[in-house]
């Protein structure tokens, strides 16, 4: 099998970068397994409890980049109680003890402490890149450690984390000699920012490509920052209100004109709508625009901005854009690949401005569209069928009709046929979220047609266990299944336990699954961790009472090669 020396094979492997492909390579033969494991640079661990640090280091002793994900996806919607788990500390401790030359750490939905960040900053001389997404547990003191100690840091990217802002001087902890910054994103920090330190940092960072500011950076500071960094590619504007003078706005306009490399724009948390015109000169080059936090901008200002953005590939927007606004997007943004429309009125006041018409318009106007997340008040089967015809290339299709169980608003029928059309037409669909009134029928369609589906989110849908069974039996590539408030129970859960070894995880909350059913599953499948999350009924859910017929509120199960985790809090029972 091997006609070449190992070095040559390793060199060939260098061109194989996707995790899936590298995993496949390592299964070919023992020799390739060995070569691959010593040469793998980037390790991706989708569930931090599927493996442990020791096993990681034994298999891959030479990696430079580690990606770890902790809590399940529904944690984003507060369905996972505080303290559940996902602690990064043991990982950093183990890596620090080893000889791994860690350069990049990417964490999602994990608990990170200041202690972890301090240890990280001191343990890896060549550490270059820290990306934290939806994490919690740390403060700006931890950031200060990173700034002080990581001499070769290039990226500090904080996305949507809960950070305790001590309003300290973390920005001034970057030494004066430090000039290697490429990415700085602190948009999620709540507190004040040391503007002087920030300006000096930006001024001495010639390689800075991505800068995302927080609310506390006002307009005049923005103008000065952009003047220092005309090479910027990705900009997150902070607070866009100006209380001082119009001179700042003119300076900003002048600075923006010089930013000819600008491709991505976001922020505008508190925005003066008519100041957007300052950005019109760079709009024609923008490929990514995120205005989904800019609740103040809507109507004509928004449309005027978008009309200039002919090269847009990614657009995140609020539903205040309205169907008419989406029609403008459809006729202007012919390169659009990804669209997300978020709800403005989270209180259910019924003022949402996008309907099925907006979705249809986008599908008709944007031939390259492959990913969509769409929150709306109403939908029809007819619209979804049209969308499916217009856009058979969807990879990700997430539709959220705000009112649970809402039927087709014209025919009052369930939306089975509409979603059925989507899965039948979109042969490459990898991710799907369904909503509205749905019977078991929609799951029959999903099981039948969604052959490439890897992630499915179900809420308030289905009639019987058959629904869940259609999905488990049909979707061979399913990796993550998350279900809430749907009438699926033990029969579906237990029908094929081996299926779960082919999946990363299953989440079921407010369904019909019982304690007895979970225990039976755990006995049949020792390679699974079957977690029952029980925050409200600490005492009531007795293990030995009621013959296990009690309903389980939250079930989270996942395959693992390292058995029961030892860091579970008391309200999590693992079988």
């Amino acid at each position: 099998m091997n006609y070449f020396p190992d070095e040559v094979i390793e060199h060939v492997f260098d061109f194989v970068t996707s995790h899936k492909d590298r995993n496949s390579i390592s299964l070919v033969c023992k020799s390739w397994f060995k070569i691959e494991r010593y040469s793998r640079q980037n390790v991706f661990i989708g569930n931090c409890y599927a493996i442990n640090p020791e096993r990681l280091l034994r298999r891959f002793p030479c990696f430079k980049s580690l990606t770890l994900k902790g809590k399940p996806h529904f944690a984003d919607f507060n369905l996972v109680p505080h303290g559940w788990g996902g602690f990064v500390q043991p990982w950093i401790e183990a890596l620090a003890r080893s000889r791994v030359g860690l350069e990049e750490l990417r964490l999602k939905r994990m608990v990170v402490t200041d202690e972890s960040l301090e240890l990280l900053s001191r343990s890896f001389v060549n550490f270059k890149s820290l990306v934290l997404v939806s994490c919690e547990g740390f403060s700006t003191d931890g950031l200060a450690s990173i700034a002080s100690n990581c001499r070769h840091l290039q990226d500090l990217d904080l996305q949507e984390n809960e950070i305790d802002d001590h309003r300290g001087q973390w920005l001034s902890c970057f030494p004066e000699t430090y000039t290697s910054l490429v990415t700085l994103n602190f948009a999620c920090l709540e507190g004040e920012t040391n503007l002087v330190a920030l300006e000096r940092l930006v001024a001495r960072s010639p390689n800075l490509r991505s800068l995302k500011l927080n609310r506390a950076v006002p307009l005049d500071a923005l103008a000065r920052l952009m003047a220092c960094a005309p090479q910027i590619v990705d900009l997150g504007v902070g607070s866009y209100e100006d209380e001082q003078d119009s001179e700042s706005c003119l300076k900003l306009q002048a600075a923006i004109r010089k930013c000819t490399s600008l491709r991505s724009l976001s922020g505008f948390l508190e925005a003066a709508p008519h100041c957007l015109s300052a950005f019109h000169p760079v709009c024609h080059n923008l490929t990514s625009l995120n205005l989904s936090y800019a609740a103040e901008i809507h109507g004509s200002h928004l449309i005027k901005l978008i009309e200039h953005c002919k090269k847009l590939q990614r657009l995140w927007i609020l539903d205040s854009i309205g169907d008419k606004g989406l029609e403008v997007v459809a006729s202007t943004c012919k390169e659009l690949q990804e669209l997300r429309v978020f709800p403005t009125d989270l209180q259910g006041g019924g003022n949402t401005a996008v309907t099925e018409d907006g979705l249809v318009a986008i599908s008709a106007g944007c031939p390259k569209l492959h990913s969509i997340l769409y929150f709306c008040q109403q939908m029809t089967n007819a619209a979804l069928i049209t969308v499916a015809k217009n856009c058979p290339n969807f990879i990700r299709f997430r539709l959220c009709i705000l009112e649970p169980h809402k039927p087709d608003h014209v025919t009052s029928q369930p939306l089975d046929e509409g979603f059925g059309a989507i899965v039948q037409a979109c042969k490459n669909l990898k991710r799907l979220s369904v909503s509205g009134l749905l019977t078991d029928q929609v799951f029959l369609y999903i099981g039948m047609y969604a052959t490439e589906l890897e992630m499915l989110s179900i809420a308030f849908a289905g009639d019987t266990d058959k629904g869940m069974l259609y999905v488990l039996n049909g979707c061979k590539k399913m990796r993550k299944l998350e279900i809430r408030d749907s009438p699926f129970g033990d029969a579906a859960l237990l029908a094929d336990v081996n299926k779960y070894e082919t999946m990363r995880s299953l989440w079921m909350s407010s369904c019909e699954v019982t304690l007895g059913g979970c225990k039976r599953l755990a006995r049949k499948a020792p390679w699974l961790n079957v977690e029952i999350i029980n925050e409200n009924d600490n005492n009531r859910m007795e293990e030995n009472g009621y013959e296990g017929r009690q309903k389980v509120d939250k079930l989270y199960l996942y395959r693992t090669v390292v058995g029961t985790r030892v860091d579970a809090p008391p309200f999590v029972w693992i079988h």
């Binding site: 919607f77 507060n78 949507e160 209100e241 209380e243 989270l346 009112e403 989110s457």
Partner: protein, 194 residues
């Protein structure tokens, strides 16, 4: 300007315009998400409009959709930011944003610190260092600019028509607009709500 001479009922602090049965459909967030997750205690109570003391919560029945934990599936970071936006454009007393046509920046002013329309006129003059705004408020047809405001329902109204108390209750933001632009703007005509 109509000040006084009106029965107390007209200036009663209520949700919705006088003479209408409109009720705000907003709900309280108290049953929402941030329960024993303990992640944060400053819950999003902004579904409730506080009008100088009395907190009115309208809890309509349909399957208490906003009382379902974790629904709609919007990540908690986004919830918090959306609530922040609601609280900065607080309806009623407090800061409102003021924009003026042709001026590329916004101002914020505290309506609660003005005693009436005269005061407001003076404050606006100072804010934009432009005389004539005050004139616009008082002497409608003689001025190049008109002062309009956006009310709780998102409608734009001419400032000065309703009693001061009602005005500061419902004003969400102010805009000083060129008279010539105002005609095509879709302002609610005077007396529409009488």
């Amino acid at each position: 300007m109509e000040k006084g001479g009106l029965g107390l009922e007209i200036t009663e602090l209520r949700l919705g315009l006088p003479g209408t049965e409109k009720m705000m459909k907003k709900r309280g967030f108290t049953e929402m998400i941030m329960t024993s997750s303990g992640s944060n205690s400053d819950q999003c109570e902004s579904g409730v409009v506080s009008s100088g003391g009395d907190v009115e919560k309208v809890n309509e029945s349909p399957v208490a959709k906003s009382q379902v934990v974790g629904w709609p599936p919007v990540c908690s970071y986004r919830w918090k930011n959306s609530c922040k936006e609601v609280s900065t454009t607080k309806v009623g007393l407090g800061y409102v944003k003021v924009s003026m046509d042709g001026v590329p920046y916004l101002r914020k002013m505290d309506l609660g610190s003005s005693q009436g329309y005269d005061d407001l006129a003076f404050a606006l003059d100072k804010l934009f260092s432009f005389h004539g705004i005050g004139v616009a408020l008082k002497d409608g047809d003689n001025c190049e600019y008109v002062t309009i405001y956006e009310d709780k329902d998102g409608d734009w109204m001419l400032a000065g028509d309703v009693p001061w108390g009602m005005f500061i209750e419902s004003c969400k933001r102010l805009r000083i607009m060129k008279r010539s632009d105002a005609t095509g703007f879709g302002l609610q005509p005077r007396g529409a709500d009488e």
